[in-house]
């Protein structure tokens, strides 16, 4: 009884576990149960049961309801699909003027709107793309194809790569200084010399449209949410789901609405990139001290001035993190949206991975990562830029950069012109180094991969087999062995113990949604992979973070590394693991681990750093050893922050698991990938995405509730 009073939570947990395991043993695996079928499959099978709900027929394999709940939500994807179809093809037909055929046409409203957005996006992308690479589409947009074919001069010539490279360097110099300028120049030269110019510029044009648009929309929505409680309340649930929704899943419904191509990719990217921007804007604005706002008002700011001159700049730190996120998401999506036909490096990367040409994939991945780092640094420098009021500048000093750029344009043109005489075989290397005419290191890498394979094949294979048969398969079997009811009890119980009745209802509802969807088994597999990844990542992150935190230099170094790794588009992580482990679950899991270790490490370091110095000193003066201090003072105090890291780690891991479907997994991701090529996949993709998002949200809710309680208990902010 004494013990019970002292640790009431402990006994609650024990009781929960006992109930859980009792349920697991009490409910047998039905004999007909087989995993891969799932519950609703594509083929018709006489063993299936059916029901009709909301006019949609759902087929599924019926089991004991304690073992697997029937997919009562099976109608939802079909219903969403039909809804989308109806909106797009039948709802609100209206007369619209068609400029191409010069007559009125009847079209449903939504289709017309989506066409207009599409046209606008396409125009923007093509404009930038043709400034960089040349082409006729922009002029066509203002005139017609006839006009262009009648006048062959009517096309944008495209800038020689030398000018773009010089321009990038000069811009970087203006924003930051010599260091960044050199980096920018080198990146551009690298891209060109290695023959990646065209796809890189295609990707760049995509990003130069997607990133600013996401930034503007995210910032405005964030400001609106800050000003109005109602907007915030309306936005919040969407933001929450979008935070944990895998980027893949958005592809499918967007494809239905906007078709395939670069424009659809931009729209999807915006859908994914805007939510974190909104959240961070909101966070930043909330953090502005009330006195600063009052100071702004007393200085006589109008509302607009207060917003642009006081609020947004003061919240700059968080908004910048938002910009950083936007850029990261854009590059991630630049690759992922290759699935729906976006051109550029992503497309090449995907193609190369498909052909298992690791060398080519590596080159494309390196280019995309380099551009990502460059843009990230430039945006940072732009935000930190200062004006000098006292510079008594001469004309030359004032317009130095413009003059230099003008000079670069002239020199570049002359070089390009000279090049056209010099290179007789048809490729003007001073204008554009064509794809696969540059230096290629692909062979080298491929040989390297072959060598690694030849040399270490035995070990890799042994490790692989061991991991799969001894760890992964049993773990997966364990997860699948859980009866649905037992899982529900476990989750709801955990919610209740951690956060009370409210939390229990929230997580219970989220779990029930997944359990009632047709993909419970798949969700279990996703969870198992994510769990494995998270456990390993957290262990590594925790150990590495703690070790690095002991020293200022290693701390800085590690945080720098985290920054760089975070800038890599998520898809790039698949390249090296495929190189080593081929197409197996191990590859996916290792990619997951590498990717998810970043937040784990970062939050460990930040958590330990946030322990107040005074406490540190107080502990030292009490005569503790270094280890004692670590375990008695630093870990307990840093733990809440580290748990937030766990949260991030889970989200990262889930994302990577889903992307891993590309290598071949048997989880929700595989179905999302399938939905991409399915004509009626929109609803399915969306619901699958929501399932993944909900898995994330369950953990998110539990961890956040716990952290808040713990922080209150410890009296940290």
């Amino acid at each position: 009884m004494e013990l019970l009073k002292k640790y009431p939570k402990l006994f609650q947990w024990l009781f929960l576990l006992v109930v859980f395991f009792a349920l697991c043993f009490a409910i047998d695996v039905p004999e007909t149960y087989k995993f891969i079928r799932g519950q609703a499959e594509f083929i018709k099978d006489p063993n299936q049961s059916t029901y009709i709900l909301f006019g949609k027929e759902v087929r599924y394999y019926a089991f004991d309801n304690f073992w697997r709940l029937p997919p009562l939500l099976g109608w939802l994807p079909i219903w969403i699909n039909d809804g989308l179809f109806f909106l797009l093809n039948e709802w609100m037909p209206m007369e619209f003027w068609d400029s191409a055929t010069q007559e009125y046409k009847t079209r449903p409203l939504v289709l017309q709107i989506s066409r207009n957005i599409t046209a606008f996006m396409t125009f923007l992308i093509e404009l930038i793309r043709e400034i960089l690479l040349g082409g006729v589409e922009t002029i066509v947009a203002f005139t017609s194809w006839n006009f262009v074919s009648a006048y062959p001069w009517a096309k944008l010539p495209g800038l020689p790569w030398t000018i773009v490279a010089a321009g990038a360097a000069i811009l970087a110099y203006k924003l930051s200084g010599k260091g960044l300028a050199i980096f920018a120049g080198l990146v551009m030269i690298y891209i060109s010399v290695f023959g990646q110019w065209k796809p890189s510029m295609q990707t760049l044009s995509f990003i130069l449209v997607a990133a600013p648009l996401s930034f503007i929309f995210g910032l405005s929505l964030g400001v609106m949410a800050y000003k109005s409680k109602r907007v915030e309340k309306a936005l919040y649930p969407i933001l929450l789901v979008m935070q944990t929704m895998p980027q893949y899943a958005v592809l499918v419904p967007a494809m239905v609405l906007f078709g395939i191509g670069d424009h659809a990719a931009v729209i999807i990217t915006m859908v994914v990139a805007i939510p974190p921007m909104i959240l961070l804007t909101l966070l930043g604005l909330r953090g502005v001290s009330p006195e600063v706002i009052e100071a702004g008002k007393m200085s006589g700011c109008s509302n607009w001035q207060l917003l642009t001159e006081v609020l947004i700049p003061t919240a700059r730190r968080d908004i910048l993190i938002g910009v950083n996120q936007v850029i990261m998401v854009c590059f991630s999506m630049a690759v992922i949206s290759a699935f729906i036909g976006a051109k550029g490096l992503g497309w090449n990367l995907l193609l190369a991975l498909n052909q298992l040409n690791i060398g080519l994939a590596l080159e494309a991945g390196l280019c995309i990562s380099l551009i990502a780092i460059l843009l990230d640094k430039m945006s940072l420098a732009w935000a930190n830029k200062q004006t000098d009021y006292f510079g008594n500048l001469t004309f030359y000093q004032r317009y130095k950069n413009t003059i230099f750029f003008g000079g670069a344009v002239v020199v570049g043109m002359i070089l390009a012109l000279a090049g056209s005489f010099f290179f007789k075989e048809g490729f003007n290397y001073l204008y554009e180094v064509p794809h696969n005419k540059g230096i290629s290191t692909a062979d080298f890498w491929n040989k390297g991969v072959d060598w690694i394979f030849d040399t270490f094949f035995v070990y890799i294979k042994a490790f692989n087999t061991w991991l799969i048969t001894e760890v992964l398969q049993p773990m997966r079997a364990l997860y699948l062995r859980m009866p649905a009811v037992a899982t529900l009890v476990l989750v709801v119980g955990a919610g209740y113990i951690i956060g009370g009745i409210r939390s229990a209802f929230t997580v219970g509802g989220l779990t029930l949604f997944i359990a009632l969807s047709p993909w419970w088994d798949r969700a279990l597999v996703t969870t198992y992979m994510a769990t494995f990844g998270v456990i390993v990542s957290c262990t590594i992150g925790f150990v590495v973070g703690t070790l690095c935190q002991q020293n200022t230099y290693t701390t800085k170094f590690m945080l720098g590394i985290c920054d760089i790794f975070q800038t890599f588009p998520s898809f790039v992580y698949l390249i090296p693991v495929m190189m080593l482990f081929g197409v197996t679950d191990t590859s996916v899991l290792i990619a997951v681990i590498v990717y998810a270790t970043i937040p784990a490490t970062r939050y460990t370091i930040e958590g330990l750093r946030s322990v107040p110095v005074a406490l540190h000193d107080a502990a030292t003066m009490s005569g503790v050893t270094k280890l004692q201090r670590l375990f008695k003072i630093e870990f307990p105090l840093a733990f809440p922050h580290m748990m937030l890291g766990l949260n991030q780690t889970i989200v990262f891991a889930l994302f990577m698991v889903i992307i891993g479907a590309f290598i071949g997994t048997e989880d929700l991701g595989q179905y999302i990938l399938k939905a991409l090529s399915d004509k009626a996949g929109g609803g399915k993709g969306l619901v699958l995405g929501i399932c993944v998002a909900f898995i994330g949200l369950i953990f998110d809710n539990l961890i956040r509730t716990w952290v808040e309680k713990r922080k209150k208990h410890l009296g940290i902010d």
Partner: protein, 343 residues
């Protein structure tokens, strides 16, 4: 029209959902306790006073006494729940958004406890900010701001960022910013509270020097009674939203109106606060000693001389005309007497 620059008539500020309705129902009889039970917090309770041109009113009170809230009502950073506020005869509460901004751009300046500098702007940009916001050309703003930088003695640091400055320096920037538009009314909300004692004293002296030169109409908030005594023309002492006493420092020290005020005055070294005029008696025809003292002398400076006399000492004004007398025993009584209840 009065010559009062700031005029408050029964100003109330009550926080809570139904504040306005509850205030109407209370019918001018606001009790903090009953309000609190109904979920409202009384910030300012029936504040009425005037501040005339060039005067410095110091509002003193402990934290939670409503002093900052009062200031924010008068600068209309929050809207008062009831009562009337006039700024130079203009009804503040009836001003439209635009007029209010105009008023702040031209008439008001404010200094904050935590400095409230814009972290992304340099010292110079911070100071020029109100001017730029107002629409003054960049070059003029910068020149004007540079004058301000010199005024508060920060030359050479105009291109620093706030984070690179010490607390005292940051507050100098805050002061310079609030003065950039040359306002008539100057609000200071605990400007020196966040500073070290030595720096605080230095800044107080600096502040007095500035005021000597600028002659602004000032409302100064502080929780430090000594600071109030040192700076104020008049002091308002607040407790639980109510102004307990509003008077000159000398009168407050000599005649505290309530027990609460008395607690502050007990520890005050009177000889340092009071001047002869505050304690002198009416001129009499008695024979006086040969010594004469000016009525504006602080007691501390002349006490020794007066105490060395046996007879009353004559008090003279600027024109050397006798306006009163002080008996040595009066000095002793002032300095040592009446401090504790039973002494």
């Amino acid at each position: 029209m009065t010559d009062a620059v700031i005029k408050c008539e029964s100003v109330y500020k009550i926080f809570g959902v139904n504040a306005k309705k509850m205030l109407e129902e209370a019918n001018g009889n606001v009790d903090a306790k009953t309000f609190q039970e109904k979920g409202c917090i009384v910030g300012v309770n029936n504040a009425s006073f005037e501040v005339s041109k060039g005067e410095m009113l110091v509002v003193m009170g402990l934290s939670g006494s409503g002093k900052s809230t009062l200031l924010r009502c008068i600068s209309r950073l929050t809207d008062a729940t009831g009562g009337k506020i006039f700024i130079e005869g203009q009804d503040l509460l009836s001003l439209k958004e635009k007029e209010l901004i105009e008023l702040r751009r031209n008439k008001m300046g404010m200094v904050f406890q935590s400095f409230a500098l814009l972290p992304h702007k340099t010292v110079l940009e911070n100071i020029a900010f109100p001017l730029l916001v107002k629409g003054v050309e960049t070059e003029n703003s910068i020149n004007k701001a540079m004058d301000m930088v010199k005024l508060v003695g920060l030359d050479g640091r105009e291109n620093y960022f706030p984070r690179e400055l010490s607390g005292g320096q940051q507050q100098r920037v805050g002061i310079a910013r609030s003065l950039a538009v040359e306002p008539d009314i100057w609000f200071l909300d605990e400007p020196f509270s966040a500073l070290d004692p030595l720096i605080r004293k230095e800044m107080q002296d600096e502040f007095l020097r500035l005021q000597e030169k600028l002659k602004k109409t000032i409302m100064f908030i502080t929780h430090d009674f000594d600071e109030a005594l040192k700076l104020a023309d008049r002091i308002a002492i607040m407790k639980d939203g109510i102004i307990e006493q509003l008077d000159t420092p000398a009168k407050i020290v000599l005649n505290p109106a309530t027990e609460y005020v008395k607690k502050f005055t007990e520890e005050v070294p009177r000889e340092k606060v009071l001047i002869i005029e505050d304690v002198m008696d009416a001129p009499t025809s008695d024979n006086l000693s040969n010594l004469k003292v000016s009525k504006d002398e602080i007691i501390e400076n002349v006490a020794e001389k007066i105490l060395s006399q046996e007879k009353s000492v004559g008090v003279v004004d600027k024109n050397n005309k006798i306006v009163g007398t002080v008996h040595p025993s009066k000095i002793i009584h002032t300095v040592f007497g009446g401090r504790k209840e039973n002494s």
